[in-house]
Subunit: 326 residues, 2 copies
């Protein structure tokens, strides 16, 4: 089942001729999620050939304009193309009021309902969106204003059924196949066939974390714990660490340190200051700490394959807090 991350905008604060304002798309089996929605996101969806009609939910990190001013135009367009399906918008408390106050976007003017999930500043850890296939959680992170980070996690899926083996044991009914995949024994040739005889181990879910704008912090690490792909801001390089601290941002090195501490598999850096026309020096600084690092390239599709070794140990290490020293 395909799962891609597509960075739509990797600029910080102000756009450049080559970088757009913050937004990262997650495309999974024909459904779309957006993390942040800076101005121009609807153009970037067009450019990325991602159908905005497939949008299920939008997750906003904080109320700095470069992360959410694109909501207005995108929602207006969804209404104009006659969307009727509800849309979920997750963000800091007040996001509903902000949207509904803009002319054209009130519930009366729009053609489709929005379900707002608003996070109060005292939130510690919240499930903000879930479907039968996946869960998105949020935790507060450390920026100049209230900001949250997000973690996307597929639920564990039943293992693969070995049909040939099942048939050899006399199981031929599709209803029995379903029962076996759901963990129930079935009766065939005068005996109980147990699931473990014909169904492989459960397939762990794939994971993605989105962390911007933030200093490296414990909640960031928790959100990124063991993820297959981590998108983390790297607004500055080493030489501007003081500025990063002052403005509540992270350097590329700090993003890499967090990725390592969290046991993430792969790191994409984004949210680059306009001063870095070429982000490769930032990538170089990060790779010293965390070799599997790249600069997020806008419109490129990053597949999120399950990184098995990590997943195998995820359950055991979930409560280990001293993994930072690895």
């Amino acid at each position: 089942m395909e799962l891609f991350i597509i960075p739509l905008g990797t600029a910080s604060a102000i756009p450049t001729r080559t970088r757009h304002l913050s937004s990262v798309a997650l495309w999974r089996a024909g459904r779309l999620l957006l993390f942040d929605c800076g101005e121009g996101t609807q153009y970037r969806l067009l450019a990325a050939h991602l159908k905005s009609s497939r949008l299920e939910a939008i997750f906003i990190t904080h109320f700095h304009g470069d992360h959410f001013y694109g909501l207005f135009g995108l929602l207006a367009t969804l209404s104009m193309v006659n969307r009727t399906d509800p849309l979920v918008v997750v963000g800091p408390e007040g996001i509903g009021k902000v949207i509904e106050s803009v002319p054209g976007l009130s519930a009366k003017e729009r053609g489709f309902p929005i379900r707002y999930v608003e996070l109060a500043e005292d939130v510690t850890h919240a499930v903000v969106f879930e479907t039968p296939e996946y869960v998105v959680t949020a935790r507060p992170v450390e920026h100049r204003v209230f900001t949250v980070g997000y973690r996307f996690e597929e639920r564990m899926r039943p293992g693969h059924l070995d049909v040939a083996r099942a048939q050899a044991l006399g199981v031929t009914d599709p209803a029995q196949y379903r029962a076996l995949k759901e963990g129930q024994p079935v009766w065939a040739r005068n005996r109980w066939v147990r699931p473990e005889e014909v169904v492989g181990p459960p397939i762990p879910g794939r994971t993605f974390a989105y962390l911007t704008d933030t200093r490296p912090c414990e909640n960031g690490r928790l959100l990124a714990e063991g993820v297959d792909l981590l998108y983390h801001e790297a607004t500055f390089g080493d030489e501007h660490r003081a500025l990063a601290i002052e403005r509540g941002h992270a350097t590329a090195r700090e993003a890499a340190e967090l990725a390592r501490a969290a046991g993430a598999h792969r790191l994409l850096l984004g949210h680059f200051s306009a001063r870095y026309e070429d982000p490769s020096p930032l990538v170089a600084e990060a790779r010293i700490i965390f070799p599997n690092t790249e600069a997020a390239e806008e419109l490129k599709r990053y597949a999120v394959p399950l990184h098995n070794p990590r997943q195998a140990s995820l359950q055991e290490t979930a409560n280990v807090t001293d993994s930072r020293g690895r």
Copy 2:
């Protein structure tokens, strides 16, 4: 003195892969005006190599999102690049409240002041912005919601001084040149040298009108009267005239009829429905009525030269209302 019109976005309602939401820039001697500011305008200014720091005023026609959602990001960026000069924002009544309600854009959060010029629904004809060099006026036009059209008009400038001739008559002092250009006689070689002896006729100003979204209407014609360049919406072609009427838009032919009735010199069509990937059929329909018509091309610079014959007669025909039959 250079005067260019640069269409930044020529889409209607929803953007396409090749067309952006409504905005037209006017660049005059290093200063910038914007007519409408759809989402993405700040990106289009970058693409057009127009410095947003040169912005003097923004004129919004109406409260449909595709005409003003780009204000938010543009204003935020101006603040982030440390603008301190005041900016003028002209638009329908309530535009100040809309802007100031968006997180990040209140007067307290912004680094520069905005002077709002708000037009009430009962406005008939208003001067909305003026400088020593030019004037912008507005009139209500006919759309589904309250909408205004705009006319930009340079003030008449003093004629050219024939320096060689002035010197032959004994006038050599720069202060005397200035006086002559301002219409005052000067004393040289024991006689009064009158301005008309050495200064050419006053140079009429150049004019531009911006009309979208609107049905063709009398106020539109008045705004476009004798302009050197008219930008007019042409959302639909002939085959969708009923739709144009229903939605308060114009067909290409109707735009051309208005241009002809107004005695405009040149017509740029824009605000094309997404159904017209190629707008040339619309241009063909318009040219039957008004040959000097083109489809506005995004990012192209359209010089606005003075069209003398028209200007010469402008003063006489200003009050003639039956020019429609020409």
